[in-house]
């Protein structure tokens, strides 16, 4: 027993001494340097995101796509700071309304040295469809009828004219994989993936750490500003804040509350990098369940609510101006966006006009309305409370709030259970169609809110068929005017992108753009 006791004390001492004697951890090496740019820098990014799959056929979510954007090439890409489509591993153009032809840029290689060919491109697309993973992106390829290769040319045949197809090719779903490595009918393990992008995934412990090093065979044009990029997956935002403050991570990116961002912005050695974001939040009315006896009364109630909501106040008081007021379903920063609701209802609330609209439709006030919101997916408690306050303060509404966990909320909201609910949208690609096509067609509307306007339907078909930017912008403008009048939903805010960045780390702001592609290669250290 004496020996055991001594042993225990010894181990405890070793443990304690080791603990006290250790120097500062990994953040030290990853901390800020001084002087000129250092291309050999290691950058550590902390995030609360989780990765569904590093295989392009297995994921349809932003965090996984960010992973993939740095490992794989697509035929097309969105250059930093724009929402344009540009060549990456291919040069593409429409040859007819339903034929899209791409030529593979020569000299591209996967990180294992295999050349990237047109057959690889065809294989990649067919593979996504064949695997059809339950949480994969196969549905994005729904417009495609077939894909074929001939020499260095890839030909996509579409089911119908679709101007958004080039945008689909910029998404990570269209990442090109090596047909010699990726199995045709099943997903490849994350630590085995091989791409032709600027980085290779050198090591990956799921939900803990991912290490990216330069692809030695990279044949693209992007210049790398670091020699290693590490992603640290944090369990929650408070841990991310703590790691950013202690220097464990150089960049804290997603998902931090406005309060946490503000705290980080005021911390020593940290500053906030901001960029345009096109994530949006909106209030949906289920036109079957919302209050109002007739279609006219229902419309008047929606218009009155749109008239009363004070978006600027929400942006400043709830979000500390990390979001911007949103006056159309299509956010600012995208081609075709207008401020249709500002034009129709003004920038600020106008209770008199709202009252008049309700009175004209014979709606007795206050209108009882239950608004549902979610916390564990959208964290909308403060937004919902402020909305309720504003609507009730007008004297025209008597709002009651209800909440549900995401697993219940998502399904119930879209299956005729809630009369009004808060929802959000993250784009697949930065194009206005991604904010209208899934939302408003009478038969296939994603929200299942029973909104149907044949004219909006016609405009959606028209913009999807047109390849002229001018024409599409005009169509979107008409559509937004109609939507402002019908108010099937009330756009509330458009989220900016914000990251907390350690002093000396460069390039973060240049990658925070509407494409939501966090380009590791742009990040460096001075």
């Amino acid at each position: 027993m004496r020996k055991a006791g001594l042993g225990a004390v010894s181990v405890a001492l070793v443990l304690g001494l080791a603990a006290c004697g250790s120097s500062s951890s990994g953040g030290g090496a990853a901390g800020p340097g001084g002087g000129s740019a250092n291309p050999k820098a290691t950058i550590v990014l902390g995030t609360t995101d989780t990765i569904v799959s590093a295989d392009p056929a297995g994921a349809y979510d932003l965090p996984s796509w960010n992973f993939q954007y740095n490992i794989y090439q697509k035929l097309l890409a969105v250059p930093p700071g724009t929402s344009d489509v540009a060549p990456e591993a291919g040069k593409c153009d429409f040859k007819g309304k339903t034929t899209y032809v791409c030529t593979v840029v020569p000299g591209q290689k996967f990180s294992n040295g295999d050349p990237l060919t047109a057959e690889d491109v065809v294989y990649s697309f067919n593979r996504v469809l064949a695997i059809n993973s339950p949480n994969g992106p196969a549905s994005l390829f729904a417009p495609m009828k077939s894909v074929s290769a001939s020499g260095d040319t890839v030909t996509f045949t579409l089911k119908a004219p679709d101007a958004t197809w080039p945008n689909v090719l910029t998404t990570a779903a269209a990442s090109i994989v090596d047909k010699a490595v990726f199995p045709a009918k099943k997903l490849l393990a994350d630590d085995k993936v091989v791409g032709s992008g600027p980085y290779q995934l050198s090591s990956y412990t799921p939900n803990q750490l991912a290490e990216f090093t330069p692809n030695p065979h990279y044949g693209g044009t992007d210049q790398l500003n670091n020699s290693k990029f590490v992603v640290k997956f944090e369990q929650d935002a408070s841990t991310l804040v703590s790691d950013a403050q202690s220097g464990q991570v150089d960049i804290a990116y997603r998902t931090l509350s406005p309060t946490q961002l503000s705290a980080l912005g005021n911390s020593d050695g940290l500053s906030l990098a901001k960029g345009v974001g096109i994530e949006i939040r909106y209030l949906v009315f289920n036109q079957k369940l919302q209050p109002g006896g007739t279609a006219e009364q229902k419309l008047a109630i929606r218009q009155a609510a749109a008239q009363v909501v004070d978006r600027s106040s929400i942006a400043s008081s709830v979000y500390r101006d990390t979001v911007s007021p949103l006056y159309s379903i299509i956010p600012q920063g995208l081609n075709g966006a207008t401020d249709a609701l500002k034009t129709a209802y003004g920038a600020g609330p106008d209770v008199t006009k709202a009252k008049a609209a309700l009175a004209a439709a014979g709606v007795s006030t206050p209108v009882s309305l239950t608004i549902w919101y979610n916390v564990n997916h959208y964290n909308d408690a403060d937004l919902a409370t402020e909305l309720m306050r504003q609507l009730n303060a007008s004297g025209l509404f008597k709002v009651k709030l209800q909440t549900a966990e995401w697993a219940t909320y998502d399904k119930a909201a879209l299956t005729d259970t809630y009369p009004a609910f808060l929802f959000g949208w993250f784009p697949d690609y930065p194009d206005a169609d991604d904010y209208t096509g899934p939302f408003f067609p009478c038969k296939t509307a994603f929200l299942n809110d029973h909104y149907c306007n044949p004219e909006v339907d016609r405009l959606i078909t028209a913009e999807q068929a047109s390849t002229s930017d001018t024409e599409r912008n005009q169509t979107f403008a008409q559509m937004q005017t109609l939507l402002a009048k019908d108010v099937p939903l009330i756009p509330i805010w458009q989220g900016g992108q914000v990251a907390a960045v350690r002093d000396g780390v460069t390039g973060v702001e240049s990658t925070l753009d509407p494409d939501y592609d966090f380009r590791f290669w742009l990040i460096g250290k001075s």
Binding site: S25, G26, T205, P206, T239, S242, D243, A407, T444
Partner: protein, 343 residues
Amino acid sequence: MAPRNTGSLRRYLVTRLLLVIPMVFILLTVVFVLMRVAPGDPIQASVGAHLSPAQLAVREHQAGFDQPLVVQYFHYLGQVLSGNFGTAITDHQAVTQIIIRNGGATLELTLSAMFIAVAVGVPLGLLAGRMRDSWVDVSSRLFGIVIYAAPVFFLGLLAQELFGRKLGWLPTSSQASVLTQLDIKSHTHVLILDAMIDGKWGDLPDLFKHLVLPATVLGLTISGVVIRLVRVNVIQTLRGDYIEAARARGIGERGVVVRHALRNALVPIVTITGLQAALLMSGAVLTEQTFNWPGIGNRLVFYLEARDYTAVQGIVTAFTLAVVVVSLLIDIVNAWIDPRVRY
């Protein structure tokens, strides 16, 4: 006499092993039903906000989530029987791999915590038993009750606030700093062991530094039980005739307590310590959450939130088997250290 003892022990162990089968079966069934009764599924949790109800229904159909529960249940049992825990839908990781990879971190935490529980609990219990009704006894008992009653996450938060944020002595999250993790190649998935295997001695301080707070918090919680148990057994043992006989033989009080009383008091302590394995596992879930420790309990919470049936069922089964194996080992050790034990 001896051969008969061995036979009864063997029979007991075989019976215990056979009982594991219905136990795991019942547990799997309960977890299966609970997961299905709760709203949502992994596909909806993952891509729900991007798909219409119709599109979601198609994907759920492809995954077989719309099949009758009985069909899904027997499909799952078939998988488990073939030794295949399946693949998590949330992140496409093989459940066996999740258990192995994250189990290493849990093992590191629980073993360290158990060490601290024994290192703190046994001496304090011994002192309390020996000095019954003195201020030492009262203080030890009070400490034992309070520390055991305090929720582990609450203790964890207090420790993080004090040693992490106020004093800045220790890290409050993760198993290691980023560069240390990158430096260590995984062999056993127990980072400290992996560092030793590769001779990365320079990484050990960082690893221990990260281990101190979670292991101490969990260990102290468990020590509350150990203190009380050692105290009671020491008091009972000190009343024994052989203790009186030892004293009569002129053996010093220290020798009587340590060599005679404690040694005999340890038998039930070994049993109870083994039974604490379940408590340790559940404590590990909370401790791992509090300290962002990448153990299996941490993953269990993650997959529960994602409604990932496959992963949750696999991890719970692994937990069950771990507790069963520890219980069995304790029975064997008990029979070995105390010949009076009969089965």
